[in-house]
C-alpha cells in the first residue's frame, strides 16, 4: 500500500521518503486498531454466545500474532543482503516469514469461513458479528501490508528492530545506489564483520535479545507440559 505513493513523488521532494514512511505507519495503525475496535464493538453489543460465539475472537488474535511476525522481519534479511543476519539467519528468517504469512492468510480465510459458514449459511437473524469478525481480520491484514516495516512495503532496505545497532544507516529506498556504494566501500575498509554475539545496547536491542531468547527456547513450554 505504500507502493502507490511512489508515483506521487515530485522531483524536488527531498523528504518524501521519510514522509511516506510516516503516512504508511499512520495508515497501518488506523487500519489495525480500527479492526480491533470493530470486534470490541460487536462483543459489547452481542454478549450472548448464541448471537456471537466468543471463540471467534481467536481468529483476530492469530491475525495479530501473524502481523507481528511479518513486521519483525525485514526484506533484506530474507534476501540475505542485509549487513547483519539478525537472530535466526536467512533460512530462519524465511521460515519465520513463511509461518507468519500462513497464519495471516489462514486467519483471513477463517474469518470468511466464519462469516459465511457461521452466519450466512445458517441464515441467522443477526449477521453483524460475522461481518465484524471478517472486517477485523481484513483490516488487520491490510494494516499489516501497509506498515512500512512489513515485507510487502517498498522499504526493502529499511533496517528493523532486530538488526543490531551499528549497522549502516539506511534511511530511504531512493538512496539505494548510494547505500550500495557506501556499503561496498565500507566492506573494503572494515576490520571485521559485525559479531552477532555482541550485546545489543538500548531497549530496542534488549527487546531483540528477548525475542531471540524466546525463539531459541521454544521447546521449553512443551517440556514443561510433558513434565507436568
Amino acid at each position: 500500500m505504500s507502493g502507490f505513493l511512489e508515483g506521487l513523488r515530485c522531483s524536488e521532494c527531498i523528504d518524501w521518503g521519510e514522509k511516506r514512511n510516516t503516512i504508511a505507519s499512520i495508515a497501518a495503525g488506523v487500519l489495525f486498531f480500527t479492526g480491533w475496535w470493530i470486534i470490541i464493538d460487536a462483543a459489547v453489543i452481542y454478549p450472548r454466545m448464541d448471537e456471537f460465539n466468543h471463540s471467534y475472537h481467536a481468529c483476530g488474535v492469530i491475525a495479530t500474532v501473524a502481523f507481528l511476525m511479518i513486521n519483525a522481519v525485514s526484506n533484506g534479511q530474507v534476501r540475505g543482503d542485509s549487513y547483519s543476519e539478525g537472530c535466526l539467519g536467512q533460512t530462519g528468517a524465511r521460515i519465520w516469514l513463511f509461518i507468519g504469512f500462513m497464519l495471516a492468510f489462514g486467519s483471513l480465510i477463517a474469518s470468511m469461513w466464519i462469516l459465511f459458514g457461521g452466519y450466512v449459511a445458517k441464515e441467522k437473524a443477526i449477521v453483524y458479528p460475522g461481518i465484524a469478525v471478517f472486517f477485523q481480520n481484513a483490516f488487520i491484514f491490510f494494516g499489516g501490508s501497509a506498515d512500512p516495516g512489513s515485507w510487502f512495503s517498498n522499504n526493502h532496505l529499511e533496517p528493523k528492530l532486530f538488526l543490531l545497532p551499528g549497522d549502516a544507516s539506511l534511511r530511504s529506498p531512493s538512496s539505494c545506489i548510494a547505500c550500495a556504494q557506501a556499503a561496498f566501500s565500507r566492506s573494503q575498509t572494515s576490520a571485521r564483520p559485525l559479531d552477532s554475539s555482541e550485546a545489543p545496547e538500548g531497549p530496542c536491542g534488549q527487546f531483540a535479545t528477548l525475542v531471540s531468547w524466546l525463539a531459541k527456547s521454544w521447546p521449553l513450554p512443551f517440556l514443561i507440559l510433558l513434565v507436568s
Binding site: 497501518a28 495503525g29 486498531f33 464493538d41 512500512p148 516495516g149 531497549p203
Partner: protein
Amino acid sequence: MAGIKALISLSFGGAIGLMFLMLGCALPIYNQYWPLFVLFFYILSPIPYCIARRLVDDTDAMSNACKELAIFLTTGIVVSAFGLPIVFARANLIEWGACALVLTGNTVIFATILGFFLVFGSNDDFSWQQW
C-alpha cells in the same frame, strides 16, 4: 520567549477540548461520566513518540524503525480514543449527543497535542531544561 503565543493558544485549545469532554459528561440530559475514560488515552498518546525521540538519535540506523513503531502505537491510541465513545454510545451507556461532544473534544485535544509537538518538538537537544 518566542513561543509564548503558541503556548497560550495551545493551552486554550487544551481547555476547549477538555470543556467539550466535560460537557459530554456533565450536562443534565446526559449525566453519565463514562466518557472520562478517554482521559487515559489522552495521557498515553504522547508517550510512544517521546520515548522513541529520547532513545534514538536521527543518524542511527534504528531510528526509523523505532519512530515508525512509535507512530503506529500513537495512531492506535488516537483511534482507541475515538472508538471508545462510539462503543459506549452503541452499547447505550451514553447518548449519541454526548458521544458527539466527546469526539469533538478528542479532535481538539489531539490537535493541541500535535500542535505542541510541531511547535515545541523540533529541538536539536530534547531536554526538559528548556522550560
